[in-house]
Amino acid sequence: MKFLAGTWVGDWLTGLGRIAALAREAFASFLTLKVAWRDLLFQIYFIGIKSQSVVIITGGFTGMVLGAQTYFQFHKIKMDTATLAVVGVSMCSELGPVLTALMVAGRVGAAIAAEIGTMRVTEQIDALRTLATHPVDYLVVPRLLASTIALPLLTIESISIGIGASYLVGVYLLGIDPVYSWSNMLKYTGNIDLAFGLIKAFVYGGIIALIGCYKGMSCGVGAQGVGRATTEAVVYSSITILITNFFLTLALQRVAVMVL
């Protein structure tokens, strides 16, 4: 494998290996149950509560535009009342978790990388180590747990707001029959769609926190290093979420077919 050293493929594989090692270390630390609960609660507040405006706007406007576009196409073949069903399935299994994760990656992933990166360049992480505190226990585990707890909750919120906004646009702006639309949505949107969305949100929460923490802890020197780590955290999290989404959809679909 020496021929890969110094190439972008080698760097990419090294980074992947280090993130996997960080995840393993964080999981082992979590099993010791020495989580700093105060930090965990603060991180849930920071990731969950502070992301409200981003999630509400994303969910609401995605639901509205999806409802409107679906209606414009379905109206041509007189299937107006199927609009909300399409919105329900799309929001639950794809758009809700993916768009919420992308928005949270932009806000939270960047903040995690910037905060930990600044701690690294100002020797605060070294100070933690000299005070006999493992940086993974203190910095990574609370953020990872908070992110995997908060993202499914934010996704549920985004889905609910998206479907609600779509309903309002469909019924009050475009004149779709409310009873048939709602009934069709309940008929075609199964619990499995919601379960897909929540599993995805859990995985994306982990991706955002892990990449943010990894980029922060391995950032270069000075303000430039922190800036680069922040940008890379957002870009790599977003790309990883989009790629993972495809494979996760296929895998979950396969599992659903086998189980149901």
Partner: protein, 249 residues
């Protein structure tokens, strides 16, 4: 006891330490001096395993720490306190929270009352009583270093490492930090390792002075002997005379 054996470290193609051997007995106070960028801080960070050597060994009380992983090192690091060049205070916490941090994270559980008392005592030792509620951003450079020292001594470690404690401070503040290092050394009977290029500080805080030159320990002597040395390299450093060939116009 702290010991290094044939310690070698490079960053990329630049070798910083090349076979450094040193031995610091318990209770000793050692000043490590040398030119800027000469590897003093790198050597100090090896003593607490913040950096890993390319080759060689570091022993703390006879136990090698070079091949330990980060979790195994937690036990060793409980013996240490370190004061960083930039203080490295946690800027999201108040002064009291910074000083209390090691006590809160310790296996031994302290009651909130005990923590409060110990924090107040540590801040008193560093002449900063009543600053508990301040934020690190509100403090001057000297005050930040003193809070860093309070954080390092609050759990009474056996070994204290100081990374350039007087750099960037005015002479009066430097004097106050030096006196503080001596007071802490004598009060807590700790082993002290002070990295500095402040000659006055090196003369006062160390029982021994070690000079790092050309990636090795070049001189190792008690302060009186060291400062009386007629060795041209040592003399040049003590007198602060630049080599004419190094002056670029």
């Amino acid at each position: 006891m702290i010991e290094t054996r044939q310690l070698t470290k490079s960053f990329g193609s630049q070798k910083v330490l090349d076979g450094v051997n040193l031995r610091i007995e318990n209770g000793q106070s050692v000043a490590i001096i040398g030119r800027s960028g000469g590897g003093k801080s790198v050597l100090l960070k090896h003593l607490i395993a913040l950096l890993q050597p390319d080759s060689g060994d570091v022993l703390i009380d006879g136990e090698s720490i070079v091949r330990m992983n980060e979790r195994q090192l937690l036990r060793i690091r409980e013996k240490f306190g370190m004061v960083f060049q930039g203080a490295a205070l946690f800027d999201s916490m108040s002064v009291a929270e910074n000083v209390a941090f090691p006590l809160v994270r310790k296996k031994k559980k302290y009651t909130p009352g005990e923590i409060e008392k110990r924090v107040a005592q540590a801040l008193e030792v560093v002449d900063l009583p009543g600053t508990q509620k301040k934020n690190p951003a509100e403090l001057s450079g000297g005050m930040r270093k003193r809070v860093g020292l309070a954080r390092a001594i609050v759990y009474e470690p056996q070994i204290l490492l100081y990374d350039e404690p007087t750099t960037g401070l005015d002479p009066i503040m430097s004097d106050s930090i030096d006196k503080l290092i001596i007071r802490v050394r004598d009060h807590f009977k700790v082993t002290s390792v002070v990295v500095t290029h402040d000659m006055r500080s090196a003369r006062r805080v160390g029982n021994r002075v070690l000079m790092l030159h050309e990636k090795k320990i070049y001189a190792n002597a008690p302060p009186e002997e060291f400062f009386a040395s007629q060795d041209p390299v040592v003399r040049q450093f003590i007198d602060g005379v630049a080599d004419p060939q190094e002056i670029l116009f």
